[in-house]
């Protein structure tokens, strides 16, 4: 699969990352290399292999519906770039 500049721009946009023109060039070649490397897997016959979504061979792990303690407001906001009173503050969301 060929990765072009458009793909890089699209992925960057989805991830809300701004890239310079040189960075885009770098990623086009790096991502293309990575994808071609992984494409080797296509040569394997996986017809009888079940898709795997988890590395552990286990199912049905649950917790009971019981309350545990939450963080205090102060603790919760420690990592926040911006807060406003009891809220987290974010750039305006337009709808």
């Amino acid at each position: 699969m060929k990765i072009g500049k458009k793909d890089i721009e699209y992925i960057a946009h989805l991830s809300r990352i701004e890239l310079s023109e040189t960075e885009k060039e770098t990623f086009v070649s790096q991502l293309s290399d990575i994808i071609s490397y992984i494409e080797k897997l296509n040569r394997l016959n996986t017809e009888s292999v079940k898709p795997m979504s988890c590395a552990i061979n286990a199912t049905n792990v649950f917790r009971e519906d019981i309350l545990t303690s939450s963080l205090s407001l102060e603790e919760a906001q420690l990592n926040a770039p911006a807060a406003n009173g009891v809220f987290f503050k974010v750039p305006k969301v337009i709808e």
């Binding site: 552990i56 917790r63 545990t68 009891v86 709808e95």
Partner: protein, 478 residues
């Protein structure tokens, strides 16, 4: 041109667990913002979600109640999108192996039963709540993450509805099923139950579906119906002008009652779903399925039909009774003690509901038990009190929670059937109303009714009305 509207609904219902889907934070509504949060629901690096068993079982229960095929193997997927109400930048949801698929729900419109197919039922996590400050020029939004991670059930219907009546019935029926199965409190004013509509138009008689428009921000069932009416007209006008309908998402503006294109969603969504590696798959075996199945009560429509059949109640009466499970349960509790369906139905749908509304009582914490209402109905049948006095006793029961017998004794409300006593009152009334007696003798028969009324008034309604009638007649004919 004549068009047919085609509607499908997506429903989100918050599940009634005490803790969130993947962590032990409380799901309580209305607490101080950002006090029911922890590293898991705030999406801190390195944390791991662990599934709430009750939430999963509630979802399973709803899926079974909606006649879905239950997958033996189900897992969860990451739905990636960047939005400030989503702390992890992905929502844990289901896409490839939904819990329940190919279900159906019967709705009743104008006495006709219609089957609406359910595409899928799945479990996901709720997002946080965004608050947009009203001050002019504010360049920020605020987020409360208390709601983030609350278990959310999504129910997706097929586009099987053709008019607003069907849509309304679908919403009401689904709400009742979720309430009957007790998986959600369905409080729309608290956002526990929300609807999104997909609306398209096609030429009448055509099989081919038109491009669908999704409508979001519908805050009440009324908004859903208004939005469908508005969209139908908007799309019809557009088509009549020879325009095409874009497949898009529009937001409902509740104040101006119109929809507008949602700018932030103009670009195609790319959620890049992939299996959630932090959660293990769930395997539902037959034993577990049976255990959940037995917890599903008789559903509203079946119960309604049974009430009509077994108790010979009208369509209208049964609709009122089954509207709230607690009322239908109360009714059945009474019936087990005394077999008077119509009497109980009247007491519950008229008097009980009126008291609940007037006193603003919580219907789930009624002050009286079925056996108390049954006792009251028995007392009336025995003739101990008249139906007028019974209303007074009932009101007192609601206020105090006391048994009817105790109230009757305390307030000395028992019906008077003492012939001598009643006769004495009649003599008094007759002698006080000579003109009325004259009228009666001249042939005015309604003078009798007046005298009976006076006697009842004198005895504060406690005299046995049947006896009063007979004795007054006897007395003035004598």
């Amino acid at each position: 041109m004549e068009y047919e509207v085609v509607v499908g609904l997506e429903t989100h219902a918050e599940l009634a667990t005490v803790s969130k889907l993947f962590c032990g934070c409380s799901t309580k509504f209305g607490s101080e913002p950002n006090t029911q949060v922890c590293p898991v629901c705030l999406g801190m690096p390195g944390v791991l979600p662990v599934m709430n068993k009750k939430a999963f079982e509630y979802a399973l229960k709803a899926a079974i109640a909606l006649n879905c095929k239950i997958r033996e193997y189900t897992n969860f997927d990451r739905k990636s999108y960047y939005y400030p109400d989503l702390p992890k930048n992905y929502q844990i949801s289901q896409n490839y192996h939904n819990l329940g698929v190919d279900g159906s729900m019967d709705i009743c419109v104008h006495d006709r039963v219609n089957r609406i197919r359910i595409h899928n039922v799945h479990l996901e996590e709720e997002a946080g709540k965004l608050i947009h400050p009203e001050e002019a020029g504010a360049d920020y939004s605020l987020v409360d993450f208390n709601r983030a991670g609350v278990p959310l059930l999504e129910i997706v219907s097929y586009p099987d509805m053709r008019n607003v009546d069907e849509v309304e019935s679908y919403m009401q029926t689904l709400r009742k099923i979720l309430l009957y199965t007790e998986v959600s409190d369905c409080k729309m004013q608290e956002g526990s139950l929300r609807f999104e509509a997909s609306i398209s138009l096609r030429k009448k008689g055509s099989e081919k579906l038109g491009n669908r428009v999704e409508i979001k921000n519908l805050n009440s069932m009324k908004s859903v119906l208004k939005a469908i009416e508005y969209e139908t007209k908007r799309q019809a006008d557009s088509l009549d002008r020879g325009e095409t309908i874009d497949r898009e998402t529009r937001l409902w503006d509740e104040v101006n009652e119109k929809s507008a294109r949602m700018r932030s969603k103009e670009e195609a969504q790319d959620y890049r779903y992939f299996p959630e590696p932090d959660l293990l798959p769930v395997v539902i075996d037959a034993k577990w399925l049976d255990e959940v199945k037995v917890t599903i009560p008789e559903l509203p429509l079946a119960r309604k039909q049974r009430f009509m059949e077994v108790f010979k109640l009208s369509d209208y009466d049964t609709s009122l009774l089954i509207e709230e499970k607690i009322l239908a349960d109360f009714f059945e509790g009474c019936i087990k003690i005394v077999d008077r369906p119509k009497a109980f139905c009247n007491w519950i749908t008229n008097d009980l509901l009126r008291e609940v509304n007037d006193r603003k009582l919580d219907i789930h914490h009624l002050p009286i038990r079925p056996k108390q209402l049954a006792a009251l109905v028995e007392i009336i049948e025995k003739g101990t009190i008249s139906s007028t006095i019974a209303k007074e006793v009932f009101s007192e029961m609601i206020q105090t929670g006391k048994d009817p017998q105790a109230i009757i004794e305390e307030k000395k409300l028992a019906q008077i059937s003492d012939e001598g006593f009643i006769e004495a009152v009649i003599v008094k009334v007759i002698s006080g109303n000579p003109a009325v007696i004259e009228d009666y003798k001249k042939g005015k028969k309604n003078a009798l009714t007046f005298l009976v009324g006076q006697v009842m008034k004198e005895t504060k309604g406690k005299a046995n009305p049947k006896m009063v009638n007979e004795l007054v007649q006897k007395k003035i004919d004598a």
